[in-house]
Symmetry: C2
Subunit: 561 residues, 2 copies
């Protein structure tokens, strides 16, 4: 019994130690820390995207569902993480990782993040965040000014006003878009007379009271899937995210938008919001925001701009004009973990009108009381970390100047890559980069010839074959692990809307050189000559030959007749 | 022109450098890193909650709304953050900070967090997270097992199944509760015949199709405000969060719950979910989950348990029985940044049935394709950081054993504090701790006497006066900065539901000693003798004296008659 008590006491002591600040840097924890740093630096200096290992294999290291009874040493866990997790993670910072919007981090984010983690503030209320609260309001103010360009007096008046907010921070673009549509929905059905507002009585009674048959959000067919998700969550139903056709440049067709608005109005469907995109996820195009703002005003809808990706383009004097009209938006989504280069889990939505967020205000007795400066009363989330300090650091250490360089480098590089693709006999540029995103596919020159003259049936067939080849190349390249481009499916106008599988490239890492881009194309050509895909190529050649010979015999027949 | 080009080139070079891994630990960034570490260790070793400085003063350092044009040095920003932000933040890890659920972190979380930040994985899809995906599924599996205790075979079958999920990770309890109610709503109104489901057609058509007049969620009056927020977001309307009365122990009155269910049914209001609380935010009480599960089954509602705070009580063999019935829940919220002691921004919702999350599934062309292992198809959020690795580390380094100690220490300490309060002439325990949370208030013994015999009017008056005094003490103590307890307003049964302002204490930091608790009470007594509150005390004394003398003369009159 005495010895059992002794063991128990020892366990308790060890729990105290876990929470006690290690005094000496030579402590075990200090050593683990240093070991991790060295190992991470080594990992990050490698230019390999991922070591190929099947996910089913990797799963074996994470298959035990029991919580271990006894504690293990920190050093043991650190070693486990380095061997099994880090070694099998994706090197999103590698300059040859150009497939997704998750890019490299500026290295100063690492030591500064330590401040955030160690202080473990909770931004929901000033009692657990103090100076982080005005800091967050400042960051929101700075970005509001970047977008809406109000004057100094405006920010002096509103930035720190406890009854208003210029925006709302959150974990990312999805929650930002959801928050914007939440505001739009609540502003559309406010309290009046004997209706207490949609926030209190719900959507069923709101539509009954205001005499509508439904509520809709309009966005181009290139809209992010988070909007469908948001419509589901908000009780609108995602069939009421009305996709509007785009033109050849993947920009919304404003005439089609207006036609659809008229139809909805005649069907007594309330238009909550018209959403413009500043940087579509798949092709990086920007909608004609200026014209959309007008349509929104015409139909009494909120105008939201999803600039999760493209927002920071405003830093660039050269390319900011592409986003003309964004300043007319009622709300704008920007993802900080994308082109503001802060670590994962940070986005925000800005509201032109400081009173907009009052439509989604919530209070509680023990915190976020009315009139407090607590940020929690107007955010979708409750407890939240102090990520704002990393945006603040980015804005100061990189500066507008630095962000401009990053934006310009990315867009110019995308244009250069587009020219490389166009000059190459085996590739076809599918979407021209407007920002730093482009798509292309594998398409040998003989297929180009055939596609030019093929009838509907054969064109479709060849496009399917090219899709299989592009998909094969994309997967193989990912498995090889030296580089990564992503893939998606588009319906390009030049092929009458045939579904086409394409490579998708996002150029946001300043360390990605043209030499790296060349080697990515070279590897894709190399993969195309692999045995695994040779049957597909034979079939493609045959199909193309058939088209060519059919056309030739038609010409012969035509010349004879 | 040449020199301008030179400047431009230098700026570009400096942006390259920002993204390049520093090779030597003696680099400038290495030095900044070390400086931050030393400074943070110093800060964390101090046992002061906050340096008093008015928030309006602090705001001055965060008042500029312009984004600086030119970059500044990392060292300059680090110094700014240490001087202006860290120095003015709240020391949530101080053992005398016992006011909120944001507590100390185990120190091993710091070096391990560095891995998470440096790798910058995005858990939305395996292409940007690889091994982090099975790791997250494992963590969800482990916690699912802690709650639902299915057998090994169950977890072998479901944990890594790409078409199912045992839960959904998110930024915190609010999103977890929202996700659970979203699932409940979508399961209540599924697709059938010529209705495409509430997710597609929205709530208006869903209620029409299924013939309901509304949809409701039932929870005790102690429910967290995030449920009201969720009901607003989901289009249910927060008036349809039906608050059920609680008994003296702040637990839901099950009879009242059943009565309300019957009423709603008769009014054709669909009961989406009945929510049990395992650890109310204000008083830490646990609802009778077992009985609630039965009511939920009876009325065909989902049974959700909000165990954001209390979930980890399941680690304790001694106290786990308090949560009996949680294993019958359809979904359970747990906050990892609370009693799993991981850094801010991490919660999850677990689903008993691995198919439940299919009700909120979303897909896209370029990621989270159907059948992939991508976690993003069943989370509310899109891009998300790899916080799961920190839960994983906590579960292994602290172990079930260690978490049990932490839970037991907290609850036992709360009970000890309650006895100290009860023994003290100037304080009144308002809610007895069931878990590690309690409430009390300042109430001198003469007020206790008066309250016993006062009539309604005087009782209310005295309670208001005691409220002002308690509020004053709480604010002064926070301003002094040595310790922090929070405050809230309750309506205790012992005072016929009079609103009472109370101190609220959360005991989750193992380094909080009984000595610290004593000194917190001592300081509160000291503040009570301050000049600033002496008028209130005089008024209180007068009021109490009036009650006593009125009672005496009544007694005299009674004895005479």
């Amino acid at each position: 019994m005495a010895s059992r008590n002794k063991t128990a006491q020892a366990s308790i002591e060890s729990m105290y130690r876990v929470f006690t600040v290690p005094e000496a840097p030579q402590s075990t924890l200090g050593q683990v820390d240093e070991y991790i740093s060295r190992n991470l630096a080594g990992f990050l200096q490698e230019h390999i995207v991922a070591v190929e290992k099947d996910l089913n294999e990797v799963e074996k290291d994470f298959s035990d569902s029991t919580i271990p009874e006894k504690p293990i040493f920190v050093s043991e866990q650190a070693q486990f993480l380095l061997d099994k997790l880090v070694a099998q993670s994706v090197h999103t910072a590698a300059p040859s990782f150009i497939g997704h919007m998750t890019s490299a981090l500026p290295h100063f984010m690492l030591p500064l993040s330590k401040i955030m983690i160690a202080l473990n503030q909770n931004l929901v209320k000033t009692e657990t965040s103090k100076a982080f609260t005005p800091l967050e309001r400042q960051v929101i103010g700075m970005l509001h000014r970047l977008v809406f360009q109000e004057d100094k007096a405006f920010y002096r008046r509103w930035m720190h006003d406890p009854f208003h907010a210029l925006g709302s921070m959150c974990s990312g673009g999805t929650v930002a878009n959801l928050s914007a549509l939440w505001v739009a929905r609540n502003l559309a059905f406010p309290a009046e007379a004997n209706f207490r507002g949609v926030n209190r009585e719900g959507l069923f009674r709101a539509l009954q009271y205001y005499g509508y048959q439904g509520a809709a959000v309009l966005v181009s067919e290139r809209g992010h899937y988070s909007l469908r998700k948001a419509a589901d969550i908000l009780g609108i139903g995602h069939d009421y995210i009305i996709p509007i056709a785009t033109n050849r440049e993947n920009k919304i067709d404003v005439d089609a938008l207006r036609t659809e608005c008229i139809r909805l109005r005649s069907e007594k469907i309330k238009i909550l919001s018209i959403v413009g995109i500043a940087g579509t996820t798949e092709t990086g195009n920007v909608d004609p925001l200026d014209e959309m703002a007008e349509v929104a005003r015409e139909f009494g809808a909120q105008f939201h701009v999803d600039a999760a990706w493209g927002g920071p383009t405003l830093f660039s004097r050269k390319y900011a004009p592409i986003l003309k009209g964004i300043e007319k938006a009622d709300s704008v989504t920007i993802d900080a973990h994308k082109q503001l280069y802060v670590p994962m889990g940070c986005g925000l939505v800005l509201f032109k009108n400081p009173a907009s967020v009052n439509a989604i205000e919530h209070h509680a007795q023990y915190i976020i009381r009315k009139g407090s400066k607590d940020l929690g009363s107007t955010t979708l989330e409750g407890s939240r970390p102090g990520m704002a300090m990393l945006i603040h650091s980015g804005l100061r250490i990189i500066g507008r100047d630095g962000y401009e360089i990053l934006i310009d480098l990315g867009i110019d590089k995308a244009k250069a890559y587009a020219r490389m693709i166009e000059a190459h006999p085996n590739f076809e540029l599918i979407t021209e980069p407007e920002l730093n995103i482009l798509t292309y596919r594998y398409r040998p020159d003989y297929a180009a010839e055939a596609l030019k003259i093929a009838d509907d049936e054969h064109r479709k067939k060849i496009n399917i074959m090219l899709g299989r080849i592009t998909k094969y190349i994309q997967k193989s390249q990912r498995e090889r692990g030296k580089a990564f481009v992503s893939r998606t499916r588009l319906n390009p106008r030049q092929y009458e809307g045939d579904p086409c599988v394409v490579f998708r490239v996002v150029l946001a890492n300043p360390l990605t050189t043209e030499k790296i881009l060349t080697s990515i194309l070279d590897e894709q050509v190399e993969i195309a000559s692999e045995k695994g895909i040779s049957d597909e190529f034979q079939a493609l050649q045959k199909a193309c030959a058939r088209v060519m010979s059919a056309s030739k015999s038609q010409q012969v027949a035509a010349s004879r007749s």
